[in-house]
């Protein structure tokens, strides 16, 4: 039953599909906006707080710098790591950038499949698909699929899981 007899000679292969390329733009925008807001708050403080103006100005600058680095580097990196795959009997995802996380959920143990669309997702016509099992660890997420495509995928997964009997615990 095991794939290889010798330890150390096997590894997980990456899942087959990437998410949509627009996800990079979406993640970039999202992190730029959130870092930008923090930088603006610091900038505002530097204008209004007596005596600590320089400190806050420096903080605002540092936040903007860190935000720029993060927004340029991390989404591209994340895109290369984040992949997904649906086979006949399981859902398989990989995610993260520094820490890599591979998750597998058998089709027979899936409870619900949903889509999640925050404001940034709607702006870029993207969806996150969440696959929930009975575990308290939380759902598997495929973050950044094209809206239409995600809807079809959710329909497909729901049909398969509803056809599987049992209470999935």
């Amino acid at each position: 039953m095991t794939v290889a007899q010798k330890a150390g000679a096997v590894r997980l292969r990456p899942p087959q599909n990437t998410v949509h390329r627009r996800a990079i733009t979406m993640w970039t925008t999202r992190s730029a906006v959130s870092y930008g807001l923090v930088a603006l708050v610091f900038l505002g403080l530097s204008a209004f707080v007596e005596g600590a103006g320089t400190v806050f100005a420096v903080l605002a600058f540092l936040t903007a710098l860190a935000g720029a680095c993060y927004a340029i580097v991390v989404p591209r990196w994340r895109y290369r790591v984040h992949r997904w795959e649906v086979t006949g009997d399981a859902v398989y995802t990989s995610s993260g950038w520094l820490w890599h996380q591979y998750r597998v959920a058998p089709m027979s143990r899936i409870q619900t499949v949903d889509t999640l669309r925050g404001p940034f997702y709607q702006l870029f016509k993207l969806s996150a698909v969440t696959v929930t099992t009975a575990s308290a660890m939380g759902p598997l997420t495929i973050d950044g699929l094209d809206e239409e495509f995600a809807r079809d995928l959710v329909d497909r997964l729901n049909r398969v899981t509803q056809a599987t009997p049992g209470d999935a615990t």
């Binding site: 095991t2 997980l12 009997d89 591979y102 998750r103 099992t133």
Partner: protein
């Protein structure tokens, strides 16, 4: 709907026990006590000084009124399909839980409840993992007898709806798995609490002083106490430490007695449930369906481990996990007990010939896992030394000496902990179970039924990728976090273990490496 149906439906509803309205007496008794105490102390009562007590008394009146409303408006019933609770005056709430979703039934009675002859019945469903109130039904409170009846009613019957009188004695013959051995009390002081409880009277004294309005300069008291302890001769300091430890030991023993008095673990073959009864002042009864059982975990906090003791907890889907305090969480199957006995109990709870938790079969993890732990120990020691040097510089002490003293303590301790943490690491597949162990200060061995695994999560940090390690977690419907982790296992080893544990799931995503 026929007339008989109507009768059954209206008859089925039951009320709470009216004595529940008196439970809030605990709000009025301490203020009255304090009033009496100050009246005795000063000869008269100055109401200006007792605003807190007056507020407390008003609170009591309010709570009692609202409890009376709650008593009037709350009804519950058990039908063949579901349990229903109807409550509320302005905000009507109707909760119905299908009976086949009920996983656990807890019956608890606090001291006030016991004086009044009451019990609280809490029912948990599978979704209650995150102590979500919507998925938990609490009936607070009914008479002790009614609580027993409810528990019998709620858990599945082997022959549904046929309580023939002849069956009753047979169904009562529960099989005893474990009971309290008074000698286990020797494990009670083997807890970090032993260092803390001895100091508790001081904080209580401060509380009382504050309530009686005696001004206490707490900062000055602490500084004074430290100065006093530094100035006294060494032998007196030793006596003081011994006294604190003795008080701590007495405290932990009392706590043990409170939590585990008359402890009994039984299996009821008729309903297929496990039941734990325990408690001295607050009695607890915890019932778990055996088919929800997904495994067991053995906990060995470091002091208990020295004493060759261990605790045992159940892993079950839908088990409401409470904090794992000195009283034992709600899944506790044993008090701190001899390790050998914990293994025996695990074996009989899981219906196995031998405990799957036994350490002999565990496979060690790669040396790289030891290097990781030693590296962390080094980093922690360096941080401690740096902090000590910084503090010394601020306080004007000798930086070199302070750093040296801290290093002499921190380096060996952290290295010993790192080595022990590495030696704790282990995993194996044994029969129907995935077994994994980790932890130095709090060693934890988990045996999880392979059939209860509902997915895998493999995590690799940059350093783990470099050293060929991975953290492989089995996800399951049981437990607070929903995962049981095999930490820092060899990457290939871990994948093959996961593949073997749940055949046919991971194999399709595993490939051979080029080399």
């Amino acid at each position: 709907m026929t007339v008989e149906d109507m009768v059954v439906r209206s008859v089925g509803w039951r009320r709470l026990d009216p004595r529940m309205c008196l439970v809030n007496l605990r709000w009025i008794l301490p203020p009255l006590g304090i009033l009496a105490l100050t009246a005795l102390h000063s000869g008269s009562v100055n109401w200006e000084d007792h605003k807190l007590q007056i507020v407390s008394a008003l609170l009591f009146v309010y709570l009692t009124c609202s409890e009376m409303v709650r008593w009037r408006t709350t009804r519950y019933r058990v039908t063949d399909e579901q349990v229903e609770v109807h409550s509320g005056l302005f905000w009507r709430r109707h909760v119905a839980i299908p009976r086949d979703r009920l996983r656990t039934v807890d019956v608890t009675s606090g001291p006030v409840h016991r004086v009044l002859g009451l019990s609280i019945v809490t029912m948990g469903t599978g979704q209650a993992l995150r102590t979500d109130r919507r998925h938990q039904l609490k009936i607070d409170a009914v008479s002790v007898a009614e609580a027993g009846v409810l528990r019998e009613e709620l858990l599945p019957r082997s022959q549904p709806a046929k309580p023939a009188p002849a069956d009753v004695p047979r169904a009562r013959a529960a099989e005893q798995i474990a009971r309290l051995d008074p000698r286990w009390v020797r494990y009670a002081p083997l807890s970090p609490l032993v260092f803390v409880i001895g100091l508790a009277p001081l904080s209580q004294a401060y509380n009382l002083a504050e309530r009686l309005g005696i001004p206490v300069d707490i900062g000055g008291a602490v500084v004074g106490a430290v100065e006093f302890l530094v100035s006294i001769p060494g032998w007196l300091f030793a006596v003081f430490v011994v006294m604190v430890l003795v008080a701590g030991a007495v405290g932990t023993v009392l706590l043990f007695a409170e939590s585990w008095w008359r402890f009994r673990l039984e299996r009821d073959p008729g309903s297929g449930t496990l039941r734990v009864n325990r408690g001295l002042i607050t009695t607890r009864s915890f019932t778990l369906e055996e088919r929800r059982l997904r495994g067991a975990e053995l906990l060995e906090p470091f002091m208990l481990r020295w004493g060759k003791g261990a605790r045992l907890k159940a892993i079950a889907s839908g088990l409401r996990q409470t904090l794992d305090g000195p009283r034992g969480g709600s899944g506790a199957l044993l008090p701190p007990a001899p390790r050998r006995l914990a293994h025996e109990t695990a074996a009989s709870v899981l219906r196995e010939a031998e405990s799957p938790l036994l350490p002999a079969r565990l496979r060690a993890h790669p040396r790289a896992a030891l290097r990781r732990r030693l590296f962390r120990a080094g980093a922690a020691s360096a941080a401690a030394v740096a902090a000590a040097a910084l503090l010394a510089a601020v306080a004007g002490w000798s930086v070199g000496w302070s750093a040296a003293v801290v290093a002499v303590v921190a380096v060996p301790v952290s290295v010993v902990l790192a080595v022990d943490a590495y030696r704790s690491l282990g995993h194996t597949l044994h029969g129907a179970y995935l077994v994994t162990r980790a932890g130095a200060l709090r060693r934890r061995t988990v045996a999880l039924q392979r059939a209860g695994i509902i997915g895998w999560t493999v995590t690799r940090s940059p350093l783990q990728r470099r050293s060929g390690l991975a953290t492989v977690a089995a996800t399951t419907a049981a437990g607070t976090t929903g995962t049981y982790v095999v930490r820092d296992v060899g990457y290939g080893d871990g994948l093959m273990m996961a593949d073997e544990a749940v055949p046919g799931l991971l194999a399709q995503f595993i490939e051979k490496t080029a080399e």
